[in-house]
């Protein structure tokens, strides 16, 4: 073997490796929602196996509409008590929205009162995440059919003065259930209740007032608190500052839909290091995998002696720990051992 070719090949190897390996991270992990349909080989409407099965209910998220909606978000805390947040969502039907906190009832409080400045600031920072990741969004027909058993509940229900249908959606793998309240006319998701695998209510959202012709003059629309860009693969590692680790396990029915870089260092300096977020979706709910880099770029090493933190925050479960020089967390509502296995799998090389 000639020395020159070897040296040049050594120099080119990482780039060559990524070229020959393809950009499956870009094409796959950043695939549009419903990319898991490729696994099921779903055909087009009217010709697929689903053509002879009843349609699953369709619903769209409120931020897609022109509206002003007052809602109550109720979430369980780590001690098993519930906190209530009164929110107002305003949306222009063209993609812009704003989520404002107008009331807060801490656990143990008798009634909803004005929110603290701290909580208002948190909502202002979190609003885009809450709407994108906390609130429910309908995934592909395939994922909904494969992951959930659907049952329309009999009886009429009204929410925010609107006639609605109610649906009980039970996860096929024992991860829990969700109750959906959908506006009959607009097919707008007005409410939901998420329960865990024991039947415990984790969180709920109820729309209490709905205005479909709001005056949106003067509304300050939400904007990302820091630059957020799609993560395309190793080519973006220099921008991110580290190489994110890959999953080798995910809970049943969860598929990747987004992979993003949150470039907090551009706004907050090194006080908040850049982090990478991968989003898994099962047709209704999300799992977030967050990685925040240290200075290392190598793979994870053996984790036999690593301390892994498990935290049940009530409405959300979190698994966190260090892998190599990175801090990795996995969070969602799936059972804790599923989240932990997902976390552990990122340490695999």
């Amino acid at each position: 073997m000639r020395r020159v070719p070897v040296l040049i090949a050594l120099f080119l190897a990482p780039w060559l490796g990524s070229c020959l390996g393809g950009s499956s991270s870009g094409a796959g992990a950043a695939a549009a929602p419903g990319a898991e349909n490729a696994l099921a080989g779903q055909g087009g409407p009217g010709l697929a196996a689903g053509a002879a099965a009843h349609h699953l209910p369709t619903f769209r998220a409120p931020e897609e509409f022109l509206l002003e909606a007052e809602r109550l978000y109720r979430v369980r805390d780590a001690a098993g008590a519930y906190e209530v947040f009164r929110e107002v969502l305003r949306a222009d039907g063209q993609g812009q929205f704003a989520l404002e906190l107008t009331g807060h009832q801490p656990a143990g409080a008798a009634a909803i009162g004005p929110p603290s400045l701290d909580w208002q600031a948190r909502y202002e920072f979190r609003q885009r995440f809450l709407v994108h990741f906390r609130d429910l969004h309908r995934g592909s027909e395939e994922s909904l059919r494969r992951n959930y058993v659907w049952e329309e509940l009999p009886g009429s229900v009204t929410m925010a003065g609107r006639s609605c249908s109610r649906h009980l959606v039970t996860n096929r793998y024992g991860y829990g259930s969700i109750e959906l309240t959908i506006d009959d006319q607009l097919e707008l998701l007005l409410g939901w209740v998420v329960r865990d695998e024991t039947g415990q209510e984790l969180s709920s959202l109820e729309t209490t007032a709905l205005n479909l012709a709001p005056n949106l003059t003067g509304v300050t629309w939400s904007a990302p608190a820091a630059p957020i860009q799609p993560y395309r693969g190793p080519i973006d590692d220099p921008v991110l500052g580290f190489t994110p680790l890959s999953l080798h396990y995910a809970p049943a029915g969860y598929f990747p839909t987004e992979e993003r870089m949150v470039l907090t260092e551009q706004v907050f300096g090194t006080s908040i290091r850049n982090f990478h977020v991968e989003v898994l979706h099962d047709g209704l709910q999300t799992i977030l995998i967050g990685q925040q880099g240290g200075n290392g770029t190598g793979p994870g090493g053996p984790i036999q002696k690593t301390i892994i933190k498990l935290s049940d925050l009530g409405g959300v479960r979190v698994v966190e720990g260090p892998i190599g020089a990175r801090q990795v967390c996995v969070l969602g509502t799936a059972p804790m051992q599923e989240l932990r296995a997902t976390w552990n799998s990122t340490s695999q090389f």
Binding site: A9, P14, A29, R122, L313, C329
Partner: protein, 145 residues
């Protein structure tokens, strides 16, 4: 057995109007369309190509041409690809990777669960980023943001 209330009746005139909307004769054109469709083999819907295209494009990406002797270059590439792979990090799994599945895999899960030492902690022992993400996901965490 639970009895379900009967739906509230519609006014007779409304019922009559609905009935009158029935019985529409299918136009001749429908038969022509159907006969033509079933005499041809089924065509893959356009959406199938839309899903396949990213993978095809990835496979079809032109390989860089190495300007040295093929044998040496190929051997060097194979030898150092492994090294480059080790250094650059593993490619990220795609949605078709067996990492993702519509089925429980308890053996795989249990294998991963064997590793590490897990401890239960409160919110305050999580990192600020984890707390922020948990809050973004809907937990009632205070944290810094």
């Amino acid at each position: 057995m639970e009895r379900h209330p009967e739906p509230a009746a519609l006014p007779k005139s409304l019922e009559e109007s609905l009935r009158r909307l029935g019985g529409v004769q299918a136009p001749e054109e429908l038969w022509h369309r159907v006969a033509l469709s079933i005499s041809k083999p089924a065509e893959a819907p356009d959406e199938l190509w839309r899903r396949v295209e990213p993978e095809v494009r990835a496979v079809a990406r032109p390989r860089p041409i190495l300007r040295f002797r093929r044998v040496a270059a190929a051997a060097a590439a194979v030898a150092v690809f492994a090294l480059g792979f080790l250094l650059a990090g593993r490619d990220r799994p795609s949605p078709t990777d067996p990492v993702f599945a519509y089925a429980e895999r308890p053996e795989l899960r249990d294998r991963f669960l064997e590793q590490g030492i897990a401890i239960q902690v409160g919110e305050e022992q999580l990192s600020p980023t984890a707390r922020m993400l948990a809050g973004a996901r809907g937990a009632a965490t205070e944290g810094s943001l």
